[in-house]
Every structure is written in C-alpha cells, then in structure tokens.
C-alpha cells in the first residue's frame, strides 16, 4: 500500500508544488483547501503525514491541528507545518500543540522531501519492483574521491560499458550532484579528509532520493580497520585500492542489480553455452555462480538437452573456477543435461592437478564439443 500525504493549503500553487516534489516517490498526494476539508479527508483517508498551512479561510491550520490532536483516531498522524508564518512566538505556540517539524515558506523542494523523509519511509518510484537492468542499459555512477586519477581510472576501465562516470572531489560536490540527479551507484573514498566519507554516507542515507542508492567504499587494501568500519556503518560493498576493475565491475553490477547473465550464458541452437571470462576472479566466479542454477533450469524447461562450458579464453581457473565447473557439471547431470567442455592447454593442465577433475575431456571449440555430445 502506498504512502499517503495530505497537503492542506488554501493555495493551489502550494498543493501543486507538493505534488510535483513527491512525484518521484511511491506516494499518493491528497489535497484539501482549508482546515474543515483537511479534517474530513484525514478522517476518511488516514494519511501517513499531513503538511499543514496556517493561514487559511474557513478553518485555519492551528484550529485544524488542535482538533486533529483531540480526535483519538487522528491524533497519531504526524503533522509538518508548511507556512509563511515563521515568527518565533508563533512557531513555539504551534509546536506546543504537537507537530513533527516546521517548514517556513519559501521552501526548497529538497528541504521538503528531506524533512518528510525523516518522518515517513519515502521510496523512489524507480525502487518499485521492476525488471532488473541489463548491463547494456545506461547507469550513472558517482565517484567521490579527492584524487582525480581514481575517477579517471574507473572511467577508463568502464568505457566498454554504457555507464556514465561522474566525479566529485568533496562531500559538498557530491551533495550538489545528488540534489541535481539520483545516481544508480555511489563510490566513496574512505580517505576523504576529516572522515567526510562517513558523514557523506549518513547524508546520502538521510536523503529520501538516495536512501536506497547502493554505496561502495573505496579503500586501500591494507586499511583493514577502515574496511571493517565501512561494513559496520552499512556500506554495500568494499572496493580495495589498487582497484581491480573486473572486481569493481562485478561488484557494481551486483550492487545495481544488473542482470549480467547474458555476459556468460547464451542459447545457441539446442545448446546452452556458458562462457567463462578471461579473468576468473573470486567475484566473477560468484557472479557466474549466481546465475548457473536458474540458467540450467531454464534450459531444461525450454527443452534443451546440451550444455557447453567454454573456458577457451580463460587465463587461469584457480580453485574457485574449477569448483564452479564441478558444480555446474553436477547440476547438469542431476537434470539430465549432457555437458561438454572447451578449454585451452592451461585450463586443461590445471584440471589435471585434481583427483576429481583429472579425467575431464576438453574440446578445442564449441562446435567440436556439440558434435561430441551428439555422438556420445
């Protein structure tokens, strides 16, 4: 059920501004032009929050607030005053009746969103359950680091992807950027002066627009204390410097909920092909592993009978890669999918080194493997 915000203001302009401000969030805006109408709408619709003006015809905001607090069913609804009446004495008088906040007009939409976001859980519309993004979709990544070389390195490393890298060298620049746009991912250097990374993280989480934006910590590999602290405060993941761009890409994809399965899996005729990348890092293996079960089950469901695992371009499998192959083949056997392997001499040699994999037969190409499966 979506959040309901009731704006009670005799000015249609203000009601329109409120509607405009919250259009990017999953919430319904209810309107009333005076206190009497406001009480009526509040009784019928039980809003999660009321934005209340003071000077209105028929019944003013102070009267409406007093009556609201006198009704058992309505007194729990949080109220934020949104009014041009901002004299100290007046604010104190209204505060005594019971309000959550007080916004004096003129107001910036960001301030309104921020204050409302402190009272109710605002979720961006883009956060609604939706199809996962593909890695061919554009994404905006904000890199906050006072060393320009880092942003440049990331920009260069991601130039094969349609991801836009934006740089901010300070907390202030990052906040300004987030006021203008909502990034899909934020990477913050923990080495920003005066622990600015943590205060920035708090501000990002306090802003309803970026409340759910994944935040990665950039930290030197040896700074284990900082890595621990980043995890403790709730940052989504850690990227160590020097940056392994493949690892960053894998972690960024995961953080942004990007469906990367098409990078590794394809259906070619009657065969499911799984291609391992050149660099089989721990994070890449985890990424492939997260898709294996679904892809194999999908292949069986679609009537495919063969699967080929292509490690022809892989430099080194390492233990994690070999384990992935082993699990994948086991899954194929369990579901009655015939499985063939393609590998280069290095991969073949690596597999010879383990008892369970030493007898694996590798082909030189996918076509050869498919033919082998047909005749087996």
């Amino acid at each position: 059920m979506s959040i309901k915000i009731l704006t009670v203001d005799d000015s249609k302009t203000v009601r329109l501004i409120v509607r405009k401000a919250f259009k990017e969030f999953q919430c319904e805006i209810l309107e009333a032009g005076d206190g009497v109408e406001g009480l009526s709408v509040a009784s019928k619709a039980s809003p999660d929050l009321i934005l209340l003006d003071v000077t209105m015809p028929v019944m003013d905001g102070v009267e409406m607030l007093s009556r609201l607090k006198g009704e058992a069913a309505l007194k729990g609804i949080p109220v934020i005053m949104l009014t041009a009446e901002g004299g100290r004495e007046h604010v104190m008088k209204v505060a005594k009746i019971g309000i959550r906040d007080y916004i004096v007009k003129p107001f910036k939409e960001e301030v309104l969103i921020e204050k409302v976001g402190r009272v109710i859980d605002l979720k961006p519309v883009s956060d609604a359950p939706a199809k996962a993004k593909s890695y061919t979709d554009t994404a905006d990544i904000l890199v906050v680091d006072d060393k320009p070389a880092i942003s440049e390195q990331i920009r260069e490393g991601f130039k094969h992807l349609p991801w836009r890298i934006h740089s901010a060298s300070s907390q202030g620049e990052a906040i300004d950027f987030c006021a203008r746009a909502t990034p899909d991912l934020i990477a913050i250097s923990l080495s920003l002066p005066d622990e600015a990374a943590y205060s920035l993280f708090r501000l990002i989480r306090g802003n309803p627009k970026t409340k759910y934006t994944p935040v990665m910590a950039l930290v030197v590999k040896t700074e284990t204390g900082q890595q621990q602290q980043a995890q403790n405060v709730g940052m989504s993941s850690i990227i160590t410097k020097p940056i392994d761009l493949k690892e960053l890409e894998a972690k960024a994809s995961k953080a942004m909920n990007i469906d990367t399965s098409n990078r590794y899996f394809a259906t070619e005729g009657d065969t499911l092909v799984m291609r391992l990348p050149e660099f089989c890092t721990q994070s890449t293996v985890l990424e492939v592993e997260s898709h294996v079960k679904v892809k194999i089950a999908g292949a069986v469901d679609a009537g495919l009978t063969k699967m080929v695992i292509d490690a022809q371009k892989t430099g080194a499998l390492e233990m994690a890669g070999i384990k992935l192959l082993f699990q994948t083949m086991q899954m194929c056997r369990d579901l009655g999918l015939r499985c063939g392997l393609v590998g280069n001499p290095r991969v073949v040699a690596e597999c010879k080194g383990f008892e369970d994999t030493r007898n694996w037969k590798f082909c030189d190409s996918i076509e050869q493997a498919r033919l082998g499966l047909e005749t087996s």
């Binding site: 000015s11 501004i17 009446e85």
Partner: protein
C-alpha cells in the same frame, strides 16, 4: 483613462512610521523578496535605487509606474504592526514566474487559465509578506497575515489612508521590474 485608486485598509501617506524607519523596512523587504525569488524561482532579485520623483512613486500617493499590464499581489498583516504589502509584476513576467514555480510551459499555463496565474502570484506575495512579517515579529512586533488577494489591470494605484507610512522598493529580477509597496503603522503606543 484616469487611474483608479484602490483603497488601502491602512491609512494616510506621510504619517509617522514610529519604530519603522525607511532603511529598516527596505532591508526587511529586500531580504524577503530576495529570499523568495532565490528559493522559489532560482532568480536573483536585486534592489534598485530609482530617483525620488513622482513617476517612480516615492512621491506620496502616486501610482507605481509599470509600462505593461500588471498583476498585483496584496496581503495584509495585523497585530502590533498593521499594514499591507503589495507586490507589482508586469503580466508577462508574472506568467514566466508561474511557469517556473509550477514546472509548466507557457501553453500549459494558458490552458490552466487566469486562476492559476492569480494563485501563483498570491502565493509569491504571501511568502514575501511572510518573510517581511516574520522579521517584524522577531523585532518585537508580533502580527499575523491575512489572506492574499490579487488585482489585475493597467491603470490603478493603491491609495493609502492616514497614519500609515508608505515605502516602495524596486527590484531587478533578470531584467524585469518587480515593485514592492508597503504601508505600515505600529499599534504600539510607545513607538507610534
């Protein structure tokens, strides 16, 4: 066509302004207009000094001279200080401000009609007068705003009645003129 006076609930030009000297009022108004234009319209409103002659309205009881059709937001304040604030806009600029405020195009505004424009100007005036009035409150003159209203036309002026002082401030807003006209009197017997 003769100019039509619009009676102001607060009276007479040239009356003592009591605690409210002209520079203080101008400061309050400049701060308030500047803040509203900056925050709501992303625009600087720069105070402009014009010669003190009748044409520019420092002369008592003379009309605010705006060469276009205009729209005037009006709002009163009552309490320890009493008076009115009038905010004069050229009509085309008022439309531009409304579009900015509501995120509308000119054609959308035309479709929405005069009510939309009037309401936006009333709200800008409400916010501006609010800032001015809050400054008075914090200075020890608590007062409350009345409901705003709007006047439109090309040939009218606000005729003050006795005992209220009149202050006029002009602002340049991106090449457009906005004029604030204030009538004020103190109800505090010690200062009035």
């Amino acid at each position: 066509m003769p100019t039509q006076p619009v009676p102001s609930p607060t009276p007479t030009p040239g009356a003592p302004s009591g605690a409210f000297d002209a520079p203080l009022i101008r400061d309050f108004m400049a701060g308030s207009v500047g803040n509203v234009f900056k925050v709501m319209l992303s625009m600087d409103a720069v105070s402009v000094d014009l010669p003190h002659d009748a044409a520019t309205l420092e002369g008592i009881g003379k009309p605010v001279k705006i060469p276009h059709d205009r729209i005037v937001g009006s709002i009163g304040f009552n309490g320890e200080a009493t008076g009115n604030v009038f905010l004069h806009f050229e009509l085309p600029f008022a439309s531009a401000c409304t579009c900015h405020l509501l995120g509308m195009s000119e054609s959308e505004l035309a479709e929405a009609g005069n009510e939309c424009l009037n309401d936006a100007i009333a709200e800008i005036t409400n916010m501006t007068a609010g800032g001015f009035k809050n400054a008075l409150c914090d200075r020890g003159f608590p007062c409350m705003l009345t409901l705003p209203s709007v006047l439109r036309g090309s040939s009218f002026y606000v005729a003050p009645v006795s005992s209220a002082a009149r202050h006029v401030s002009h602002f340049d807003c991106g090449g457009h003129r906005v004029t604030a006209e204030i009538f004020i009197k103190s109800n505090d017997p010690e200062t009035s």
